[in-house]
Amino acid sequence: MASVSFRNIQKAFGKVKVIHGISFDIADGEFVVLVGPSGCGKSTLLRMLAGLEEISGGEILVDDRVVNDLESKDRDIAMVFQSYALYPHMTVRENMAFSLKLRKADARATAERVATAARILNLDALLDRFPRELSGGQRQRVAMGRAIVRDPKVFLFDEPLSNLDAKLRVAMRAEIKALHQRLKTTTVYVTHDQIEAMTMADRIVVMHDGIVEQIGTPLQLFDHPSNLFVAQFIGSPAMNVFKGTLRRGDGTCRVEAQGIAWPLTEREGGREGQPVHYGIRPGDISLVAPGEGIAAKVVVVEPTGAETELVLDVGGERLIVVLHGRTEVQPEQTVGLRIDAAKAHLFDEGSGQRID
């Protein structure tokens, strides 16, 4: 187990800079998820930590030791790849024992550790099979088993669930999380799927275009996104955002957009007439009787059983509302909306930064 620190990490491929000075610390035993859209540099950052990619600038420390110039094998890390990267010509047992064999570990101890890992991951019955004889989920578990056997300081996961179908992905998500709770090994996990990030992470690092947009616990990011990018990236369905103008006179705060006054609680930042983005999450809007609140026309009703998702038209803009339970409303119907003003978010139009 170990702590990990990134200190002003930079990466350039030739003349193209892809990571522009990233710094943050990961505590011993923490489960940190790097999340962001494709090309944001999250995998590159992970690969630099793994020693698979040269570091162009800055330092990476594992347990307060700079590892920049250490070979992968000397960093004491284990990695699970998106494509599993199992050795096709070795059985599950051989795959899991490979790293110990390279280290010339004692055969009995190796067998014991493989057996323990196999028990943890329910692979006992599959130990003598070849990877080609396994399903996707089983292969993923073998890849994890290969990492566990090593008992490394840090686990790295590079989009490990992307090749699995939706149902299996949910199951494996829980399995990885349970595994972490059991082993308490420092883990860095890369994904582009914000739901994976929200459900698994102790802390999330949101990345975009080679910089860190925000670092925080899942609920911090959800409740207090520090900028528009994080606000729109975290949460599903995504936050509703409108361009508007901030109005603050007579002791109240509101945003004018589409000819409608969107409610806000009083805040210190922001000046009268400032161009802003107004954000409200689909779950923070409720339906009231027509005529009350903000008038909206129903476009689509999407029942999912436990929840109902409504796509509404408000002054020509699309607005998504998620209701718990069922609803009687029909497309083309007009409804009233009540906004939970305390949950509304405000961002500067130019910089996208949060205004509190």
Partner: protein, 284 residues
């Protein structure tokens, strides 16, 4: 579909057969002649019959027993052929595998150049190099030594083998190398424990190619080796024609025996040959 039969399918089949049958005949007629001569009596070999009146295996007996002036070193010569072919196969395989691994997996600087040079050697027919090769072997004092033939054949076979193996190597997923590196493998361990086992089909194909190339070679054997007990069988077969009155039936019987090992090897490895030699031919 209610029936697996359509005129379009029949027409496609017919066209294929129309091309295939002549090609098959074209290929088989020489083999047929080879066999026909080999089982004919000396005086009836050129009688023009489709099948000899009294087929005999006596010619094979003469060949295997070395009971003819031209055949006194038959077993030594077939041994030479075998030694040269196997050594060429193994050495080529070693050189080409190491080169392909270094270029494809270790991304060695200058690898691209080596590969392009290998390709360029194909613009020069092997026969053009025969005289320079003769001179080089003479400089090293290797003439009349079977090593000269082996080295020459490795030189000719290696570029193509490197090219094919590099293409096949490129298809192995990169993550395997990365996983092995993280697992603690050195480049040599990566080569031995991961790369070579996964390349076996291509290695078999390429090794067989080099082996057969050397087995079938005539010109280089003829130039570099001249002693009766050092020449490969291919050259010895050529010597049958040095007299006016050649024993055709023995030439063909020996030729038939000479053709058997390649056929056996090809048959044994045919499953690798197709997949191995075309591996990397197209981007999939």
């Amino acid at each position: 579909m209610s029936r697996g039969f359509s005129w379009r399918k029949v027409s496609t089949e017919a066209q294929l057969l129309l091309v295939g049958i002549p090609v098959l005949l074209w290929t088989l007629i020489p083999v047929y002649h080879l066999l026909l001569f080999a089982i004919s009596q000396r005086d009836s070999a050129t009688s023009g019959r489709l099948w000899p009146a009294d087929p005999t295996l006596q010619n094979f007996g003469i060949v295997l027993g070395q009971k003819h002036f031209y055949l006194t070193h038959f077993w030594v010569q077939i041994g030479n052929s075998l030694l040269i072919a196997v050594a060429t196969g193994l050495i080529t395989l070693f050189v080409a595998t190491c080169a392909a691994f270094a270029i494809s997996r270790l991304k060695l600087r200058g690898g691209r150049t080596v590969l392009n040079l290998a390709l360029i050697t194909y613009f020069i027919p092997a026969a053009f190099l025969a005289v320079p090769m003769y001179k080089t072997m003479a400089n090293y004092g290797l003439l009349n030594n079977r090593w000269s033939m082996i080295l020459a054949m490795v030189t000719i076979a290696a570029p193509y083998c490197i090219w094919v193996l590099k293409q096949a190597s490129d298809k192995l997923p990169w993550e395997l190398d990365e996983a092995a590196r993280i697992d603690g493998a050195s480049p040599l361990q990566l080569f031995r424990l991961v790369y070579v086992p996964l390349m076996v089909p291509s290695l078999v194909a390429v090794g067989t190619y080099a082996l057969l190339l050397a087995w079938n070679e005539y010109l280089y054997g003829f130039l570099l080796l001249s002693k009766e007990n050092e020449i490969p069988l291919a050259v010895a077969l050529g010597n049958f024609l040095s007299a006016d009155d050649s024993p055709w039936e023995l030439l063909m019987a020996t030729g038939f025996i000479y053709a058997l090992p390649p056929a056996a090897i090809y048959y044994a490895f045919k499953r690798y040959m197709v997949s191995g030699l075309t591996a990397g031919a197209v981007k999939s």
